[in-house]
Symmetry: C4
Subunit: 229 residues, 4 copies
């Protein structure tokens, strides 16, 4: 009986994976229009309704999975904490994009583990783009209400996010509101991880080349180190 319940749970996830991914893109587009459109336009109202409706879908999905899992709520929340975060911040769901991208790419190649470094770089790049765009929208939405904030246009917000993700931090435009600073803090942490991903890829790639060099001693054709050219 427990196995059957699990089966229905897994089946639900398998079927809703792709629709919910597209729904998350709709959510992101709706949020973008709501933030960037003029104050009293019709588009803004449509976008607001879209955001609320898609959010409701995510909540319904979460509740259905909670019921289907037949676990106690607290246990479910703890084991699926990432899903819980995604329900509260649905923009993060679009990060599943990397999973979909991976699935599409896996069909094309027969030896997927060869492409580990490009894949890590692709993940890092796609996640940065997505988080950077979502973060810019949220930051702009928080900061423009404060007249003392240096972030008054979406361009300023994008510029602030780029500085934050690369941990450069000029500070010519920095958030002043509490919600803006929370968003920037989240982006800083992601930036730290991004730095770790780039550095780690480079490091393990160099080690890989070196080990191969040690094994194939004949010095005729050393592998090119693939410098940026």
């Amino acid at each position: 009986m427990h196995a059957e319940a699990e089966g229905r749970d897994v089946a639900w996830e398998r079927r809703t994976e792709i629709p919910l991914f597209y729904l998350s893109l709709v959510f992101l587009a709706g949020y973008a229009v709501r933030v960037l459109a003029h104050a009293h336009s019709l588009w803004r109202d449509i976008a607001a309704i879209t955001v609320v409706l898609t959010w409701l879908c995510f909540i319904v999905d979460y509740v259905v999975r909670l019921v289907l899992s037949r676990q106690r709520p607290l246990r479910f929340v703890r084991r699926h904490w990432l899903d819980t975060v995604i329900v509260i911040l649905p923009t993060l769901r679009a990060l599943r994009m990397v999973k979909v991208h991976d699935a599409v790419m896996a069909k094309r190649r027969d030896r997927p583990h060869r492409s580990l470094y490009p894949r890590v770089i692709t993940y890092a790049g796609l996640s940065s783009l997505l988080l950077g765009f979502s973060g810019s929208l949220g930051l702009f939405d928080s900061e423009r209400r404060d007249p003392h904030s240096p972030i008054q246009t979406f361009g300023d917000s994008l510029w602030c996010v780029v500085q934050t993700l690369t941990t450069v931090g000029y500070g010519d435009v920095a958030p002043v509101t509490v919600s803006g600073r929370l968003i920037a803090t989240a982006l800083m942490m992601f930036g730290l991880g991004l730095l770790g991903a780039v550095t780690g890829s480079f490091s393990s790639w160099l080690i890989q080349i070196f080990r191969r060099d040690d094994e194939e001693e004949p010095p005729g054709d050393a592998p090119s180190p693939g410098a940026p050219h």
Copy 2:
């Protein structure tokens, strides 16, 4: 006789480990209340007394261990320099939290070395939270006395600490007093180490995956690279 003295030394450490850990949390809470409470409240006085009393306990513990070790003071100080630092800055003692957390976690799992990367990340996260909170308190305490400082609320202090630990450093709020700058310097160094921990974990994890791929050549089910999703 020396062995017996060492035995008493070790026994003392084993028995005081847990009480002193909780005492360090009391110290931290007392310090937080003393810094954050209103100037003339009763809570503030109680907190000040708590801080002094717990600090005295740490000093007594240090002296007892110095006596039990039967070593010359200078030698003891040099060999136990970390304990000496902790006596001077008792807020660091709460970092033993990670040891306690480790001990608790070790009981649950049978193959602890599998969880090296999560453990490093957990350590880094807990240490960052603890050091960040303590540092914010100290920074706020130092800076609010200076009317020219941009750090006038605890929120500003937290924001400055977050910028420092992630090495972003916008600089919209930066310490101006000597003690504030010393605290920020300590946090910068910890931030450098934090960056190293995140990067190092990522790097060794990628190498681990790659080596496993090289050994299990059959390309059927390549291990998922565990991208953020």
Copy 3:
């Protein structure tokens, strides 16, 4: 027939490699003179013509290779995306310098793979110098037209670029125009990669030393860790 076409394509590339490399240096020099010379000098006009002429050469080269490849244009653009970027931003072509440098160095040594770490450091250094200089020129060109920009001399622009590439980012001079911020963003991303290259080299070098130590157990003459001295 397809093989013959490819042959002509490869032959063209082989013959134009060195001339186009020198042409890219001429382009860079011309651009530098155009940006740095006084407003109404003759040099500036000559430089502008040089820039346009060399740029035309790059475009002609691109079109010739597109025709010789006998591929559909879209497919060619996608497969040679790096060349496409270089046609739009010809200053990047000078980065082929590292390839030329590599070819020259390869002739001198018989075991090139021994010099992996110096080579990575050399690549990183040369690329940083070249990108930093080109970026400073572009940044200066963008920013000096805006009277509110803090970047008013070429020295300010260089200083801003150095801060960006090392991800320090004081922010005393930061770009305010859209094109200046785009250039800074590109430099930030390169800076992130540069950090990864330095860290990765150091990391894999340490691992290399450690492994050698493990294999040659006799502790007589441990390899010097090569500290900066």
Copy 4:
């Protein structure tokens, strides 16, 4: 005859190593007094003479080695470029401290390669302290002459150097003179390398632990990950 000349060269280096190291400390102390003492004090004059005299010693040493090596000057300069840099910036000679420290430490331990990570950390720490102190002196000396500079005390200069070495870069105090910015640029590059050293050590240490875990499969006593506690 060439071998004999080399022999005299090596003998000269071996004999002058320790005296020149102490002389470099005298140089650094003299430079510190010259920069930090009051404008018209006697100490300042004595310090200036000390600086000049020790600098002369370094130049004489360089010339003697150039003559003893019986090489053409240009070839000597290129092969000993580090020594050439040290003659121009004698404060860097004190970095040989790490070599002396290494030699002293090597006598105490019988298996030096065990201590690779502590040694790298010690090198990084000593070099940071030395370069940070020298850099602060130079920065202060350059900046205080400019009335528009935010660096007016030695404390400001130290604070700026700490921000730079850790790549945090608040930018509340940033150099404005050309020589100050050159010093800061050098410190930024060293900071980049420092980050690489810390990260690389952490990374290779994690890999080391992981490999040992893989080899000693019995899961009884997993090695402690040595978290900061």
